[in-house]
Symmetry: C2
Subunit: 319 residues, 2 copies
Amino acid sequence: MIPRMASVTGVKEWNNGELRSLDDYLVGEEPLEIRVGDLPISVTMRTPGHDLELAAGFLFTEGLITSRAQIASVRNEPDATQNGANRVRIDLTPGVVLDPEATRRNFYTTSSCGVCGKASIDAVRVRHIAPLAPAPAPAALAPAAGSVALPPAPAAGSTALPPAPAAGSTALPDAPDTLLIDPELLCQLPDRLRAAQPVFERTGGLHAAGLFTSAGELLILREDVGRHNAVDKVIGWALANDLLPLGTSVLMVSGRGGFEIVQKALVAGVAVLASVSAPSDLAVNLAREFGMTLIGFLRGRRFIIYSGAGRIASAMPPR
Amino acid sequence: MIPRMASVTGVKEWNNGELRSLDDYLVGEEPLEIRVGDLPISVTMRTPGHDLELAAGFLFTEGLITSRAQIASVRNEPDATQNGANRVRIDLTPGVVLDPEATRRNFYTTSSCGVCGKASIDAVRVRHIAPLAPAPAPAALAPAAGSVALPPAPAAGSTALPPAPAAGSTALPDAPDTLLIDPELLCQLPDRLRAAQPVFERTGGLHAAGLFTSAGELLILREDVGRHNAVDKVIGWALANDLLPLGTSVLMVSGRGGFEIVQKALVAGVAVLASVSAPSDLAVNLAREFGMTLIGFLRGRRFIIYSGAGRIASAMPPR
């Protein structure tokens, strides 16, 4: 196991009506800042490892450099994060000058990216996130062990919104959760999503996002080549129809429940996010911090509960 | 069929040794520019359709607005493209002001994005793309029919590199292609890629990119949560090892062969790009314009040839 490329965490597996706790591997996801000299060029969410190659390859495939000879050195540079390994600095051979237009064109940062996982979380925190109703089973899931991407505690000295309590914290008011999802119903959502996809789904190249009521009724479905776009289309529809926040809905996405998707769903107040595939460690940490229920590998009559198990009706451990 | 969400094009299917021509649906992919008033906020590669919802949802989930009431109007605005529908303008309610920091943070454009498909193609053209050896079967594939995303001819008046001939054009010198891939070997690549993935692939959340010789030998494998990062890591490795351009290699990716992946592969001179999933229409058009061999749905003993069939050994039609 290469450090930080993956981490282990405790999750719950629902399988054909049986619930069990197990350890699961999560793929690592952290931002990497690429600099040329002192100039920030790009921030990309990536899995740590081979970062020097990533930075050099990025500069080349984005047309900022055209040969290896233009690179004088590539190295990690300390950053403000815990492990200090989320920045790569490339120095160019004397005489090689970046095209300012290409640089401008290539500098991109989404607010889902920061210079470190913590910065990313802070970026989420400053947004206006409607509070989620607390899940009724506190401490249902342990914090991710072995992950070094995110500090487990909220940042001290944050000047943004008050730090959100960690998932399962008893600091939240002890109100009963209004949202309780039947796991049998959850298992039907992928088929319902697929059945509703229009004819051009035959292209095979589309991601889908669907918003369901807690009774499993499909409210809206949108498709896009970009997973995040499909989610934005759904949330834009909900915004236009005055349905936000989506605290009583289930958002189902066809691809991974990655960090960016969890972030967007949280902003819209989504309480339950389900996907057919795997989330990253950063996505799981974010969901846990904000108390979102995060479901992955929803296939057939099986799924994994990464966070907020209290909203899954029969997922509460027998007493 | 909703216009521009999908298009039909002629492709070749290789299935267990049999080759046939058929029409295939491609998902639409075009850039959308989102503006607030006259200020460009973001360019995103998306499937056309529900663009107003996408723009509103994006502003909301990225934290630029916090309620529907802050939006005065959302509308399409003419742009310079053929269909003039790749820009959405949102005007805010009087008194609502964008946070400049949030705006700065959210404006992102990769060079894979332009204000229109044509601009994107131009952006590729200005990069230093090593010429690919022409595929030996000219006019093996017809240009995409029904697609309105890209003008079929190179832009007039381009000041960048001389326009690349369209795929299958006879303007290229009639040199024999040095690269000819055995379709039986192609079918083995997904398994070889999977077999080489390290232990943490068990997370299920990783994309892989692998570089193979024309004899099917795996040169390098990289994994990442981001498909484009896995490709950049592979190309960065090749750059560091002085192996560019990759005109005699096959690049195999685990996810879709989307526009951004085709673009990065072209910059590295990759002649054959194979993926297990579907490309978009923009990706196919780009591959055809530059004469790259683009393979999709490579699963079991079947695949689709979207472009450059001449590099697939037995894919030449019987005479």
